[in-house]
Subunit: 406 residues, 2 copies
Amino acid sequence: MKILQNKTLTDVSGFQAIGIHSGIKKSGNKDLGIIYSTKPAVAAAAFTTNIVKAAPLQINMENLKISQNTQAIVVNSGNANACTGAEGLNHAHQMTQTVADALGLSSSEVLVASTGIIGVPMPMQVVVPGIKAACELLATGTGASAAEAIMTTDSFVKSITVEVMIDEKPVLISGIAKGSGMIHPNMATMLSFLVTNANISKSLLSETLKDSVSDSYNMISVDGDTSTNDMVIILANGTAGNTLVEKADGNYGKFKEALDFVNKELAKLIAQDGEGATKLIEISLYNAKTQKDAKVCAKSIISSNLVKSAFFGSDANWGRIMCSLGYSGGNFVPEKVDILFKNEKGTIQLVKDGAGIPFSEEQAKEILDQKYVNIVVDLKDGEHGAVAWGCDLSYDYIKINGSYRS
Amino acid sequence: MKILQNKTLTDVSGFQAIGIHSGIKKSGNKDLGIIYSTKPAVAAAAFTTNIVKAAPLQINMENLKISQNTQAIVVNSGNANACTGAEGLNHAHQMTQTVADALGLSSSEVLVASTGIIGVPMPMQVVVPGIKAACELLATGTGASAAEAIMTTDSFVKSITVEVMIDEKPVLISGIAKGSGMIHPNMATMLSFLVTNANISKSLLSETLKDSVSDSYNMISVDGDTSTNDMVIILANGTAGNTLVEKADGNYGKFKEALDFVNKELAKLIAQDGEGATKLIEISLYNAKTQKDAKVCAKSIISSNLVKSAFFGSDANWGRIMCSLGYSGGNFVPEKVDILFKNEKGTIQLVKDGAGIPFSEEQAKEILDQKYVNIVVDLKDGEHGAVAWGCDLSYDYIKINGSYRS
């Protein structure tokens, strides 16, 4: 598998994409995107477990059941179309129908996603003309503009493309994603859209996506809030020409490895660009008794406001890490825990067998002052591991969320 | 039941209390307190569910089993004596033994509590002389000085005293508590110490405390972090002279009502004084299908960083409240939810049947700009209610926790 630099959605054969400003955002920034497979494609998706589900999610769940073919995704930022009642459902449906009419599809072959403020009616007077204009521009558009169109408080575009050879054919997987607040996915994710030219069955695609999401997007947290609009969608149009992947064989293994890589990279980019974040924190948790213990312990550390505030201040406050492990719900023996901090500036051990050991505050500060810090936690209690990602909690998180309105 | 203004622990018959500066805190602030019943007393306690339990909690659990009589509590701030290994247990035991020697008790008749930084050895060279000095000053001390001695980042003293007549005898319950970070109690609480002159059996005292804690301290959150040192203790010395309360009769009902009131008031004071808080937020959740649904929904709202940030900015962002309800784990029907904001400036409805309704942004801002805001959530789905308390999330939370070290 190799990473393709500077490639995006539209470098995958058979895919077009575009992002435009339709008028939802007052800032004039891009706010509407279309991703389109010119050939028939299968889709898989994962949705938030929040029981308050935005209108687009309800439409998509239905469309994925009705139709075997999925060729387009329409996505807007600036308005979440959540808690908008029956009118919101109509609006979401109208969005898929407008795309379908423009591209010669049935509305059930189109998926829809929204992100932005909750509870405000979608301004259809700009959205409908925007969709029509975007569909006309598709052929000439770039995936990069689509990646821009899904941004809200994101500070940079999140995009990655990889290539893996299957049956000697180059199979590409390319994804775009957006963060960066209300990020604490649970069995689903924030917005992330992936396309691939792999020839793969719908059922296997669905299974592999579910599995991949649980180790990537579900292992990040920015603020502990699981959104009403979380969604990851992958479209696979088979134009790579490989033999259909339909069971867990070697070709599936290659595809899965590449998909996992893409999802984890996008998840890390979201964590790194969490609202107000100044650094990316990676938790490497080793030797838990069960996989579940490993995951809940790792995620509890990255979700703690106190741990995150300490990292903002480059404070080697390992006590807060022990504390967050203790209330995680995971099982472990406190008296066995080791904790280390690691990055390009070196490695420093702070805790051995559950108690603090002397360390250089200067060296710790040097490590913590970097843009990336790896917290290594060894429970020494089993053989299961997990990795989670998050960010620090800064003044800017409050600034963004104490006043941000669209 | 009546509230006794300006009364504290030492106004309850048979109790002495003192707070001094022993030298643990570099600031020179009080850091060591003793609460002492001059007569035999029964005790009940609740402890954190964090599986990383500080040394004092381990000692207390043992002492409460060994001894029917509990006459003293020693508490320090500035050092949590958590994650300190076998040495920490020795230190905690040494603290109870020093009190026991000074007051003529056995060490199992003394409880110990600590709060402050995790993982640093307790400076016994100042703690032991401090305890001896404090015990000598007990007779002349005031409960107010003890309340000061347990403060860390608290900005004001938390204390309340009530009186209830039982068998025509005035029974007093007086409590002191500390917050104000690492506050998200679960089946237990932060530090809270109560004394009463009621004559009540140990087993009934224990049962009523457990029950009272679940509706008070367990319904507040400052930052979602459940501490390693949470503890609430009540001592009852029977000097009021009422007939022994030993079953759930009318006298028990009066005592329970007063105890609930004291615990809820202390819990609210802790929420109000959460690190960096500028306002107290009270969630009144009505008409849930079960008691559990009511509690998890109410607590989820108050624990959301996004809701808390919005309140800091006086932003009527009800979408974040709907979102936090949705991921709470509680069951409800999104399409039935009503949301209102209330306080002395008026009442405003923002959500009806799960969708936003028009409201005056000016009136909402006027309500949200006050020091107290009541969020009323009506699930219209059953008959169970719950109340939870918390605070907003401000720049100062980050300031305190991005640099605070003792």
